[in-house]
């Protein structure tokens, strides 16, 4: 009898622990969302001139002076939306890849998806001299083609292997980079600046229509990815464990990977590859949410917050204006190194 009661007490303890962990996850997610929202507001208010909230709000509704209208609606709003959506997309895509491939270093930036996107865009601009629209299309196509190739090659003989996929990705990335380097040299001098925009991420001069593919992709893909997050959690336990728990591992992986690739490719098309956002978001969001919970939602929110904050820093923190990709790169490098050392130390790499 006493033993039974002790067991009951333990079970109650555990239930409380579980509830605490769930609460922490919800809190962290909400906090990240709030942070992203505040940064969005800051993006709208700050610029060459600092406008009061009311002025910006009116301008967004189409009321106000011409100068204010232009600044708020043509410059700051697209910039803010680009940062928000691209950051979210990179964060979510990165976290999904890291979880699927069970390696924190495996993210679109490092395993060659974004380099496929970049190569596609640069090819369009430098070699075909095509306009921005074609460049977007070809950037998305480049990213997809790269991933498709990686996926097919890493499913050799119908057995998927994450490490194989990573090595294949690194090989493909090397080819894409070589191609980009060559195109940069062979190009006409005056075309180069337009192309470099695709090589290091930047929110400068983003126009609203350029973001439509990213919006469309986000609206369709993000809910799907969230819907599959339960299966993703099971896949985390390893392929065998997931299969025995009744997860269709192959199908889940294909769906989630497709989601992540669409997000990464459309985001790269809109802003260029913003270094390290996809890499950092997953692990940091996981630490904030606690309990090894690698849910894609907090990761996406963190990605958005990081991108917006870095862009604000790039605009206002230094004498020279730096594009967001350079800021995230510099911010991310020390954390990357810290993470690398820690992960190798724990044998997780």
């Amino acid at each position: 009898m006493a033993a039974m009661m002790a067991a009951d007490a333990r079970a109650a303890d555990w239930t409380r622990g579980r509830r605490d962990r769930r609460r922490r996850f919800a809190l962290a997610t909400a906090a990240l969302g709030a942070l992203a929202f505040l940064l969005c507001c800051a993006m709208l208010l700050m610029g060459n001139t600092l406008y009061p909230v009311g002025t910006v709000w009116n301008a967004l509704r189409g009321v106000g002076e011409k100068g204010v209208l232009f600044a708020a609606r043509t410059i700051r709003l697209p910039r803010m939306l680009a940062g928000l959506f691209a950051g979210f997309a990179f964060g979510m895509a990165g976290s999904v890849f890291q979880t699927l491939l069970r390696n924190p270093l495996a993210n679109p930036n490092i395993i060659g998806i974004t380099s496929g996107s970049s190569a596609g865009a640069v090819y369009c601009i430098l070699t075909l001299h095509a306009g921005a629209g074609a460049a977007y299309a070809s950037s998305i196509a480049g990213g997809m083609a790269t991933t498709l190739a990686m996926f097919i090659l890493s499913n050799y003989r119908k057995r998927f292997s994450a490490s194989r996929m990573i090595l294949v990705g690194i090989g493909i990335q090397a080819m894409c980079n070589a191609l980009v380097s060559y195109m940069l040299i062979a190009a006409r001098e005056r075309d180069v600046p337009a192309a470099t925009r695709w090589l290091s991420g930047s929110l400068n001069g983003v126009r609203l229509p350029e973001l439509y593919p990213l919006f469309a992709a986000s609206v369709v893909v993000i809910p799907v990815a969230l819907l599959f997050s339960g299966q993703l959690r099971m896949l985390e336990l390893g392929e065998d464990a997931a299969l025995t728990l009744g997860v269709r591992a192959g199908r889940t992986r294909a769906v989630l990977m497709a989601c992540a690739v669409v997000l990464a490719a459309t985001a790269t098309a809109a802003t260029g590859p913003i270094a390290f956002v996809s890499f950092l978001s997953g692990p940091i969001a996981k630490r904030l949410a606690g309990n090894g919970n690698s849910h894609p939602l907090p990761a996406g929110l963190f990605g958005a917050a990081l991108t917006l904050a870095s862009d604000l820093a790039g605009q206002f923190a230094f004498e020279q204006r730096f594009p967001v990709g350079v800021v995230t790169g510099i911010l991310g490098a020390p954390y990357l190194i810290f993470l690398l050392v820690r992960m190798s130390g724990k044998g997780e790499l």
Binding site: R10, A11, D13, G230, R233, G238, D240, L245, G246, N291
Partner: protein, 291 residues
């Protein structure tokens, strides 16, 4: 601890050929797991015993032949439905970084959850019970990555129990464990089998443990079934010689009365002993020594 007996299911392989990368490791094996029983699969390294178990757990699609559950091909059963009937303890599962023991065990409830219905009382009870059976309830809020190998293994078994399947397949449940834990885990498993009638099938390295705990043994060699039957029928000097290529003597386990296999090897007797022990002496002597 509610001890309702579970349904018996008929999990069988019919002329199954399976393996990796187009190479057959298991060749034309037909087995049928005795319902409500404990079966052990034994055999030398690389004989295909793990592959056979994984094929039964539908982790590997057979190249030919069929794995059926109650007469239906396992491939045609919905994965979640199948996962409510057949569970598996994988050999090397991955621990997500920083996950708490209770939550990891809770993941075993996945096949019993619906998409838009949250965590229920039943889930709660099943997890608490599974942790109780494997005595990991005290660890519920600890992080899995900080546990010892033996504790981890018990957590994984608890996860498989939380799945509440009628059949449980275990791929070397006793690896990484010292001998006391091996016995403890096998004892717990055989209690589960006795009290609830869960059908167990496990790959075991140790022939003597297999003989002690299993009702039925499948011995494999080179991808084929070399012998099957009750421990007394399979653990014989002749069969061990055939399967493992090794001479041995079979005694009776003084504790469990199951067959006990003693390898002969080349080093018989010690120099400092009073005299070289003859094999026959040993086998004759042991029984009388115990009685």
């Amino acid at each position: 601890m509610g001890a309702a007996r579970v349904d018996a299911h008929d999990l069988r392989c019919e002329r199954v050929v399976s393996g990796y990368d187009g190479k057959a490791v298991v060749r034309e094996v037909s087995v049928s797991l005795p319902g409500h029983g404990i079966s052990a699969i034994i055999g030398p390294n690389a004989c295909g015993k793990s592959t056979l178990l994984k094929t039964m757990a539908r982790l590997i699609k057979p190249m030919s032949g069929a794995v059926t559950l109650d007469g239906r091909g396992v491939g045609t059963i919905k994965p979640k439905r199948l996962a409510r009937m057949v569970g598996l303890l994988p050999q090397s599962p991955v621990v997500p970084d920083g996950i708490a023991v209770g939550d990891l065990v809770g993941r075993g409830r996945y096949p019993r959850q619906r998409v838009f219905r949250g965590w229920t009382k039943e889930d709660e009870a099943a997890v608490a019970e599974a942790m109780g059976i494997m005595s990991v309830a005290e660890l519920a809020d600890r992080s899995v990555s900080g546990l010892s190998g033996g504790q981890r293994q018990r957590v994984w078994i608890a996860m498989a129990l939380a799945q509440q399947t009628d059949i449980l397949l275990l791929d070397e449940p006793t690896t990484f464990l010292d001998v006391a834990y091996q016995i403890e885990i096998l004892d717990v498993l055989s209690e589960l089998n006795r009290e609830r009638g869960i059908t167990l099938a496990m790959v075991l390295h140790d022939i003597n443990l297999a003989a002690r705990y299993a009702d039925y043994i499948f011995a494999m060699k080179d991808g084929r079934l070399a012998a099957e039957g009750k421990p007394r029928e399979v653990v014989t000097a002749e069969a061990i010689k055939r399967v493992f290529g090794m001479d041995c003597v079979i005694l009776e386990d003084p504790v469990a009365r199951s067959p006990l296999m003693i390898p002969v090897g080349r080093r018989v007797g010690r120099q400092d002993d009073s005299g070289p022990a003859s094999i026959m002496d040993a086998s004759r002597g042991s029984l009388s020594a115990i009685r």
